[in-house]
């Protein structure tokens, strides 16, 4: 007579189960270990360099001494400008897709397909697109039309434009998700009171989707801040005497600075501590942005 709740599984099946759990656990620990190990390595090797003056001083002696101030500032300018350019376009696209387009229409499906494809394009391709389209075509075109030479070279502006295109899918997907989270009943209540579609969007839908739009923007900024390949040819520079005075000037960038330190320095070995410290700053920036996005998103979900 068997007790009512003993397992009917054979011993071999139970062993197999334990084995599977063991593998999953090992993999998890390994992933965690790699990340923590990496961070610890950065902290130990770059930590001592990470001082206030490192953040606030210009690099000296062919980037072999001094700080990263212009790169930090340049990265900030870049992501701000990128956000200003990309988020309104992305938000407008998401509004069109969720609020106006017929979901099964040929056009809406094409736009979605384009957005998904855009998300999968390697960033170096965006870099080439930036040179080809923004610098050569738009910039040179503007210069020819106006008879000056302001736009026809790589610059902060074209880098921001390139990154805006690159981060567009992130913004669109996040904002679409936020708009869809606004209950249909709220829209209907507004329309039933005589609001037009547009009034409903500005007065009811968007105010309820603000945190989602913010999340999208932050995710985009996080993605854009760490991107190097896409701006490689579009306007970054390895050394700058001062911060850019206009968006049409070249600028320094954290990710590119790291690349320069690691590959183009007269003495790569000597700059290692600087590289580690720069990495910490870059990672810190990206983590900070991602965590704030996660925080905002969880607040959005709770409502």
């Amino acid at each position: 007579m068997q007790a009512p709740f003993t397992s009917h599984h054979t011993v071999s099946k139970r062993v197999l189960g334990l084995f599977a759990i063991g593998i999953a656990l090992t993999a998890t620990v390994a992933v965690l270990g790699v990340i923590l190990g990496m961070l610890a390595d950065f902290a130990v090797k770059g930590g001592p360099e990470l001082t206030w003056s490192f953040l606030t001083e210009y690099p000296r002696n062919s980037n072999m001494e001094g700080g990263i101030f212009p790169a930090l500032a340049g990265t900030t300018f870049l992501v701000l400008l990128m956000t200003l350019m990309g988020v309104p376009i992305g938000t407008a696209t998401a509004i069109y897709l969720t609020e106006f387009a017929r979901q099964d229409s040929w056009f809406a499906r094409s736009v979605r397909f384009a957005v998904n494809t855009l998300a999968g394009v390697p960033s170096i391709v965006f870099g080439l697109f930036g040179v080809g389209f923004f610098v050569q075509f738009v910039g040179k075109g503007l210069d020819t039309a106006s008879g000056s030479s302001v736009f026809g070279d790589g610059s902060l502006l074209w880098c921001a434009a390139t990154l805006a295109v690159l981060t567009l899918p992130v913004v669109i997907v996040a904002v679409e998700e936020a708009l869809r989270a606004v209950p249909r009943e709220l829209r209907e209540a507004s329309l039933a009171l005589g609001a037009t579609r547009w009034q409903t969007i500005t007065k009811v839908v968007l105010p309820n989707a603000v945190s989602g739009i913010l999340t999208g923007s932050i995710l985009a900024v996080g993605r854009g801040a760490g991107e190097v390949a896409a701006i490689l040819f579009v306007g970054v520079t390895y050394s700058a005497e001062s911060l850019p005075d206009a968006v049409t000037e070249k600028f320094m960038h954290l990710g590119y600075h790291l690349y320069v330190l690691a590959t183009q320095s007269p003495d790569v070995e000597a700059t290692l501590p600087l590289q580690y410290a720069t990495t910490i700053v870059l990672l810190g920036l990206t983590f900070l942005l991602n965590f704030s996005a996660i925080y905002l998103r969880s607040r959005l979900r709770r409502r």
Binding site: E188, S190, L191, V204
Partner: protein, 255 residues
Amino acid sequence: MAKEYPTKITATDFSMYYGQKQALHNISITVPERRVTAFIGPSGCGKSTFLRSMNRMNDLIDGTRHEGGMVIDDVDVYDPTVDVSTLRRKIGMVFQKSVPFPKSIFENITYGLTLLDRRSKSDLEQVVEESLQRAALWNEVKDRLHHSALGLSGGQQQRLCIARAVAVNPEILLMDEPCSALDPISTGKVEELITELKDTYTIVLVTHNMQQAARVSDYTGFFLMGHLIEFDRTRTLFTSPAKKETEDYITGRFG
């Protein structure tokens, strides 16, 4: 039918399609002015679809189309020259789920008014008080008009939605199962309110609760599978229905 009262809404051979699927079949009906007209029938019978055809809320769903006439006060609501926003201002709507905007009570009531033009503060305050009085909610909320409407109970929220609809001064109130999410006490209050409001508004009420239809309505229409089976004075329909389907439904033999 319904000849004792002036007609407010007339549907003539009205049909509605969701893509290929026909949801309403040649509905003809006259809804009397300043009375309560109830639509009953099992889920999916088309009663809500018909209600939402009156203020063209079905326009919002991709792939719907209609045939036949839906005339309110001599105007075909589907006429191309009709401005849908203006139409909907004339026809208030209360939904199954009470959906206050995540704004203050005051802003909820004034939402419809501020869509058109700016009003003075005293003007708005007056409308807010009147509307809330009308929805029998004023005494409960007058001290917290500027608090969030989401802090109200379910029954209060539904009465707020009625006040919000009333605030734009409509002529018709469409109510789509307004009590189905409410407890019996709140339901009683809303029903009482419907009886009071019918002096001012033409009310069309969709309900799955036959007792409710019997309690508050003057006329009742019975829908089944997209057809209007029978439409008559409520007392007549419930006591001596003309059609076998109606009798089966109200005696609980199906649905």
